[in-house]
Symmetry: C2
Subunit: 586 residues, 2 copies
């Protein structure tokens, strides 16, 4: 019988029910293959479902088609899903051979528990579910992973089988295509293939080593970032990577963020920690002289490398690391300047995100959480100020109630890459905590001391995560201005090498990152290599090009352009770089 709740379900909720039911079918299929299986849990998740199993042997990818075939049998038989209630005592008897289920039963506060049965499989579950298995239209098992029971590394490691499920075969195929595309664009894979960065178990997980090509992209980003900040009235500064622990106690970081901090190191009887944030150095510089209201706003910007502890299990390529360089800045201003400052940061943030080719964002304004520093009035005023700044920038936004940091309200911008995946982008946070703790003040027009309004902000987030998003957005085929190698000159034969070198020199003189492939290999092989390296322009030069001072240009897309005068090419590529053109063209 279809419950009331199921009738009211939206399309999204219906799909979630299908996915949850698919998890049960997966469990039934596994049970039919491994009768001694011990079941963990099996929920619906985004795009699909999983189920955790304790099994007599490790599953391999080859097992998935077998399990899948079994699942299709069950679905074809259109076995009904039947929900019922039982007392805990009855449930304990039914799950006597299932220790994980028994543990779950013990934790249910009610005396009655929900059960769902389809075919030979019974689960501890409140549902809802499809009425019969035939409603599961399109699914696929995609991977196997290890997962600690209840996410606790001290409990047994179970085997988790992931599947995806959709309304239609078309939707499933579309999703799998995207998944495949995402795998091709995975920044860890492309980072290796394009020789951009590496992470070494010997040095430590989550610690990124930037190879020449990755560092080349990073330098372009950093220079652009620095120039743009200077233009907009920021001052660049540098602060050390370690500071006395006492400073982090004064700030409250030791109390609030201890789990993310590395253990202290001792120097001459004093404890130091490696910095998790750049704020304190910026405050110390601010406080080196008495500031007047006339000097404000002061905007201190730093590409500051910070270190935070993350469990090795959650580390992921460049996007979740233990050491990262924030494109950080702190603005010290009067409260009457706050709105203009936030408008300025939003303007800078959108300009930069757009320049890098991201055109879709979601904006969130996070408000006061349950425990907070500062007064309710200050929070309300600052939240209003952020909101007015968003309106002035004509940015549609959603409120994220209670999701502000304890020290103040914030704006988060999440941008979407070409695959429609969201990335944490710019963040702008008002801070009521640090100015008070460190007495960060200025002398007002009234001759009195006032605490500053302090804003933390990053635009790109961190160099590491931002490069991950760039790699995946462009699938490694960066716009010319960002490409580590912008042009490859390919001489047809040795006698064209002088000409190739001449082009190289001239392009280098214009600041173009150009390489000559002088190896004794065929032109085709060199072109193939340059395409694999996703180098925007290949300039093939042979007898005719030498004679006519031209270049035969091939794009990394495979497109072969007509020969054109070298001077014309030089001007085009220069223009594409200077204007940070996103598309590859001439």
């Amino acid at each position: 019988m279809v419950s009331d709740k199921q009738q009211r379900a939206t399309e999204g909720e219906k799909l979630e029910i299908v996915r949850h039911s698919a998890a049960h079918v997966l469990a039934e299929a596994v049970q039919s293959i491994f009768p001694d299986v011990k079941f963990g849990i099996g929920p619906a998740i985004e795009n699909g479902f999983y189920y955790d199993f304790e099994l007599p042997r490790s599953l391999t990818p080859d097992d998935l088609p077998l399990i899948e075939a079994k699942m299709r049998e069950i679905i074809a038989s259109n076995v009904p899903f039947i929900g019922q209630e039982a007392t805990k005592g009855e449930a304990r008897a039914l799950f006597a051979a299932q220790p994980y289920k028994l543990e779950l039963i013990d934790e249910i506060p009610d005396e009655k528990v929900g059960l769902y049965r389809q075919g030979s499989f019974l689960d501890l579950c409140r549902g809802p579910h499809v009425s019969s298995a035939g409603e599961i239209k399109a699914f696929k098992l995609v991977s196997i992973a290890g997962a600690y029971w209840r996410g606790d590394e001290h409990r047994p490691m179970l085997q988790r089988v992931y599947g995806v499920a959709f309304d239609t075969e078309e939707a499933l195929a579309e999703y799998l295509r995207k998944l495949d595309e995402a795998a091709k664009r995975d920044h860890r894979k492309l980072g290796r293939e394009l020789d951009l960065f590496s992470i070494h178990e010997e040095a430590g997980p989550g610690l990124v080593h930037w190879h020449p090509k990755g560092a080349g992209i990073r330098r372009v980003i950093e220079d652009f970032w620095k120039d743009e900040h200077i233009k907009r009235g920021y001052d660049l500064i540098y602060t050390p990577h370690i500071a006395k622990l006492d400073l982090w106690k004064t700030s409250g970081h030791w109390e609030f963020y201890r789990d993310y901090l590395y253990s202290p190191m001792e120097v001459e009887g004093q404890e130091y920690i490696i910095k998790p944030m750049n704020c304190l150095g910026h405050i110390l510089i601010y406080k080196t002289s008495q500031r007047s209201y006339r000097e404000l706003p002061l905007r201190y910007a730093e590409l500051g490398t910070v270190y935070r502890y993350e469990r090795s299990g959650v580390l992921h390529g460049l996007s979740r690391v233990r050491g990262f360089t924030q494109d950080d800045a702190h603005i010290f201003c009067r409260f009457d300047q706050l709105e203009d400052e936030v408008v300025g940061v939003l303007d800078l943030a959108l300009f930069m995100v757009d320049t890098f080719g991201f055109t879709n964002y979601q904006v969130l304004l996070s408000t006061r959480p349950e425990s907070y520093a500062g007064t309710i009035q200050a929070w309300d005023e600052a939240t209003e100020t952020l909101s007015r700044a968003l309106v002035r920038q004509k940015l549609a936004y959603n409120i994220d109630p209670g999701e502000g940091v304890f020290y103040g309200p914030k704006i988060d911008i999440k941008f979407e890459d070409a695959q429609g995946r969201g990335w944490q982008g710019p963040t702008i946070q008002v801070d009521f905590n640090l100015p008070q703790r460190f007495d960060v003040a200025y002398i007002g027009e009234d001759g009195q001391e006032h605490l500053v309004a302090m804003v933390h902000r990053t635009v790109l987030g961190s160099m590491e995560r931002f490069l991950a998003s760039l790699i995946e957005h462009y699938g490694g085929a960066f716009p010319v201005w960002l490409a580590p190698v912008q042009a490859m000159v390919i001489p047809v034969a040795d006698r064209h090498l002088d000409y190739a070198r001449k082009l190289e020199d001239e392009l280098k003189g214009e600041g173009v990152r150009v390489v000559v492939d002088a190896r004794s290999e065929t032109v085709n092989l060199k072109i193939r290599q340059a395409q694999l390296d996703k180098i925007p322009y290949m300039l093939v030069v042979g007898d005719r090009e030498v004679a006519e001072s031209t270049v035969s240009v091939r794009l990394r897309s495979g497109e072969q352009l007509a020969s054109l005068p070298f001077d014309g090419f030089k001007e085009s590529i220069r223009e594409a770089i200077v204007n940070r053109v996103k598309e590859l063209r001439l």
Copy 2:
């Protein structure tokens, strides 16, 4: 009686004797004022002498003229210095009230000890000394400092009085003038006055915070450095600031440099340390792929911030710190490429040092020490290679025997600043140790694996020490291309502000660091402020300048130039910046 030894003394030795005798006169003078004084030691030092005292109260600078007057009395009386010998027993009786002297007596291996007496003062001393106090011609007491007895922080803190002494009053005056000039150029003083950097007890001694103006200079230096390295075939990379301790054990750093390393921090049961050097990250990147002889040389460059322990007592402004950014690079090459590589590094080093305005250097080639890694043959060959590279660069050099690092021979270049003081400059070190420990190899033309020749090198040393040398060399008046603010526009009245802003915009468009002083202050006060800030050009603009599109240029030297067309000025300053012109001119 003048001893044989004294007769043979050179001029320099004679002056040292005078200085040593001045120390005794200082002690006699102090004894006459503080009869209960306990004496430490009182040697001659470079340019003068000192004596350490335990006194009933702390001395202040006001005490120095009184002590000096007493010394002049003693010198005027021309009291003779009389040397004699005594048994240790006799000496112990004579110095019964002098615990520090008794300690020294106990440590003298001979049964006889030397004594020297002048007037009422008797010292434990072998001499030689002047025959009488009148031979001390020109001296001055200059400062008071605390000094632990025998340099041991667990022993009592004595008061050290420093003096200087020369042959003639003229030589003394010249030295004091230089000292005064050096004090004016002291980078710690100028760093504060010009608002370049700060160091904070709360964050930790020896940890530099770069203020906007100091960071501005650093950015110019870093950009120049990076561009020049790219031009010369280096690759820029970035490596993390922490790595697992085990890596530093493998490298030998934990064994050989432990005293300089910070204590480990723990992450998930693994010990990490903050990096004291950049080499290991560079090696890890080198080893991410199998290298062929055709790929070499690989030159990895990084502005890498490292942390090393230095006792707080030896820290000194920017020139001796605990955290510093090395302009580091590692070259991985074949041994047959080593000479060319060293020639290349020397060329780069001299070019850069010269561009910054240092024209005098001393070059040292340090050879094999007593304990060393690698074979004698390898050392001999590499030392020969370094020597040949120096000859090819036409650099006169001295051998510093046995002063190589344990892992290989090295070249050090010390440059002199405008005051004739030496600064540690470029260093080039061959390393036989790390390639072996980490198996850093390439596949040779013979298909076999060979260890690389590895070179460590810095050109500027560190950003911190190099800025110290620059500040003191230029007395804070940096060449235009390095100046944090290159031009200050000073409108005569409010009605000239629009024109001033127009000039500001145009100059900024040319990449000039320009500021408008729009305060309601007199032109004279603004000029004085700009001169104190050592801003190269002041552009005063009033009615005439607005009408004629000119600027009235004043140099920070005080020189007032004729009014000149603004476009001409713009071109001149642009040219001075692009060409890194050292002199201030138009």
